[in-house]
Amino acid sequence: MILPVRITKRDDVPRRQAAVILVVSIVLALVFSGVVMLLFGLNPIEVYGTIVQGAFGSAMRLEQTMIKAVPLTIASLGILVAFKMKFWNIGGEGQIMMGALAASWVALNHPGLPQPLLLLWMGAASVVAGGVWALIPAAFKAKMGTNETIFTLMMNYIAIKFVMYLQYGPWKDPESKGFPRIPKFSDAAILPDVGGMHAGWVLMLILVAAVFLFMNYTKKGYEIAVVGESLETARYAGMNIPVIIMIAMFISGGLCGLVGMVQASAIEKTLTWGLSSGYGFTAIITTWLARLNAVTTLFVCLAFAVLLQGADYIQLALHVPSSVAQVVQGIILFFVLGSDFFLRYRVKWIGLARARAEAE
């Protein structure tokens, strides 16, 4: 096939130009998604408008948007720590579930504890559970070099199915008249409200700052980055690679586990097997789009939360399936990842005639 362009490698792209390329790719993704909507007989302008309305239109909707941004951001921070080490943690979902499970165990068994103590205990339990769940594939990778992608993915299903078993079996509320449901937490186990919504957002902001500082200003963060860049260099520098892998994965899984605690405590007020709602997977996309920077992650996750909340709303308002928003998400990811090509290569229009002549 003859293309009327010439493609050449380019040197460094100035920051401003890189930003322009990024913005253009997002705009193009929205336009392209619009075309897809047109094909299905939808009015893209109306859909986009409704998404924005659904995300920001009222205080209640804004709260719903933030409720989605919190777990997504915290999970993304967890994924970030692993990805920085080039450890492809696809197991966020499972780590969220295990965190939720541990927090629920604490909440259900100690309903009478004072609230601060109970919440702290739940948080700690969720971090340990998520971290340990992530440590299993990490230990195998560190000691035997197993592939973490498949391993972490499979661990998701084990975690989800185990919680499902508890919900339908041993932990089922005897007073639910046969309905498969785990009893609600006591009030002490519910995250309090701060500034109009549950306190998770405060936790989110603290963690963004903490992960940013950890990755950029600590010895461990430095080690994680070096291990991600080159194992040989890490060995040369005398780093204890297995220990670094395991510490990083404990942090990664621990952050995801904390998401489980937040969701169980503030949103579901109990443990359900559907509680992770795909945040562990969506976080992979947002982390990648944020180019593994903690602060950028916050903004990407806020934008994605708008899409998620807007999607729920268009279903109600326009009777359009919320999958439309997922289509938009997917297309944005493709376009932004694709825009990388234009950062690395210069594409010059030379016309079909000249291209043909050169090809001969």
Partner: protein, 510 residues
């Protein structure tokens, strides 16, 4: 085919990558029966030019004529059809196959194979060009020299009468180089045109008829080899006069045994290292490194050099033996132990960006790669290292936009200076350097030699793994020769010859 036409004529060839010109308006003419050397430093555009001739790249502008006919190559296949064969620096052979299988691989030999006819054709070609290839020998059983001969036979079998060889002598011993040159002369006698890409001047003078010198993408001149001297060629390559003598100041008495009673700085005693297949990569290696000394290590690539360096640096586990650093046995200690024990040892590994540095990080973050281990607490302190990075940049004239530029963006010579700068800055007593000038241009190489000599003058014991025997002889005090993981000779550099080293490199007296 017109008899009088040049085998290759390239006119006004330009090629750019991004904003940088790799080739700019280059003319090159190669006649049939001529050995033409393409000379230039790394990045001068030699490989780019030849890749256009072999159909891998397409020129932005300019035209190529083969035997007088204008050609446009869309792929390497077109170029092979025109009788052009390229022999790459890294052999493209299938290890588990025989020589014959490799020769017919990828060719259009029809569905059925006629081994008898093939063998006949192979032996016919072998006789004509003086190639010594056994058709049924498997590639993994071959020496480097044999593999190269097979590569040559492969392109000849496909009908090549124009041969391009990219750095053909880089991996050969002096004896193998002699054999290769005999083959090349044979091809010339048969009317083939041969282009050799190289930066080794001695070989250029020996083998070539004419030389084209490239510098920064431009053709500087084409000269008759008989009418040019080496200093003139260097001036053309580098663009200025370069003093090519390496000074060697001796701090010990004459001869290797003069100070034999003195305790060494680093004593390697009977070290044996197994590779993955449980074969001995190092076999009972013993030697002593003294202060004020550059100890060269010569050997064919893969004779145990990498294992030797990595074992001393603690990166490789040894089966047997002891290594004493100022009387303390350090064998079995990890790099971390070595750093934390304060053992002052610097190591410039062969793979600079893959092992010695972190490519995506800046100079500041690369400076702390080892010493951060000795920082207390949780927080990474970068302040002092930013100052240090600036000092090293200034002292070694490292060309970089700033100390915050990722090191992978720097040129090869500057990358090496960052690495060497860091290791020297740690004030080592022993400095291990593996191929420290590989890939560097002449100016940068000499800067590195000077730096190593400075360290030697300060009392450092330097291990220098090298590949250019001329440099080893000029720079080092003593030279160890490795062959198949064993030391086959320990020579006084002032009194040895390339031939002697070459003999020991292939096993020699053992």
């Amino acid at each position: 085919m017109k008899e009088s036409a040049p085998a290759i004529e390239m006119r006004g060839i330009s090629k750019s990558f991004g904003s940088a010109y790799a080739n700019k308006d280059i003319d090159l003419t190669v006649l049939p029966g001529e050995i033409h050397a393409l000379l230039g430093e790394n990045g001068a555009g030699k490989s780019t030019l030849m890749n256009m001739l072999s159909g891998i790249y397409r020129p932005d502008s300019g035209s190529i004529f083969v035997n007088g006919e204008a050609v446009r190559f869309a792929s390497p296949k077109d170029s092979i059809k025109r009788g052009i064969g390229m022999i790459h620096q890294h052999f493209k052979l299938v290890d588990v196959m025989t020589a014959r299988d490799n020769i017919i691989l990828g060719g259009n030999s029809g569905f059925f194979l006629n081994n008898k006819a093939l063998n006949r054709r192979i032996s016919e070609l072998s006789d004509r060009y003086g190639l010594d290839v056994k058709p049924d020998k498997k590639v993994y059983e071959m020496s480097v020299g044999e593999k190269q001969t097979l590569e040559i036979l492969k392109v000849l079998y496909r009908g090549a009468n124009i041969l391009i060889m990219d750095e053909p002598t880089a991996v050969l011993t002096p004896q193998e180089i002699e054999k290769l040159f005999a083959i090349i002369r044979n091809m010339k006698a048969q009317g083939c045109a041969v282009v050799i890409i190289t930066h080794k001047l001695g070989e250029v003078m020996e083998i070539s008829d004419r030389i084209t010198v490239l510098r920064r993408g431009e053709a500087i001149a084409t000269v008759e080899t008989a009418q040019v001297e080496i200093p003139t060629l260097i001036e053309m390559m580098v663009g200025r006069r370069v003093d090519l003598s390496i000074k060697r100041e001796s701090f010990h008495g004459a001869g290797p045994d003069a100070l034999s009673g003195e305790q060494g700085l680093l004593c390697v005693d009977g070290v044996t290292v197994y590779d993955k297949d449980k074969k001995a990569a190092l076999d009972g290696v013993s030697f002593t490194l003294r202060t004020h000394e550059i100890l060269g290590v010569a050997g064919v690539a893969g004779s145990g050099q990498k294992e030797l360096c990595e074992t001393i640096a603690g990166l490789q586990a040894a089966e047997k033996g002891r290594i004493f650093f100022e009387g303390q046995n350090i064998l079995g200690k990890s790099p971390r132990d070595i750093i934390r024990l304060g053992i002052r040892m610097g190591f410039i590994p062969e793979d600079r960006l893959g092992m010695g540095l972190v490519g995506s990080m800046d100079i500041v973050h690369n400076m702390i790669l080892k010493e951060y281990q000795n920082q207390r607490g949780f927080v990474l302190r970068r302040g002092p290292s930013a100052e240090k990075a600036q000092q090293i940049v200034d002292r070694l004239d490292i060309l970089t936009p700033s100390v915050h530029t990722p090191v992978s963006r720097l040129s090869g010579g500057n990358i090496q200076k960052v690495l060497l700068g860091r290791e020297i800055d740690s004030d080592p007593k022993v400095l291990i350097t593996a191929y420290p000038v590989r890939g560097l241009d002449i100016g940068a190489s000499f800067r590195i030699y000077d730096l190593l000599n400075e360290q030697k003058a300060r009392g450092v014991g330097v291990i220098f793994i090298g590949e250019d025997l001329d440099v080893l002889i000029e720079l080092c005090d003593r030279i160890l020769v490795l062959s198949g993981g064993r030391i086959t000779g320990a020579l006084d550099a002032a009194r040895t010859t390339k031939e002697e080293i070459g003999f020991l490199m292939t096993g020699g007296a053992a």
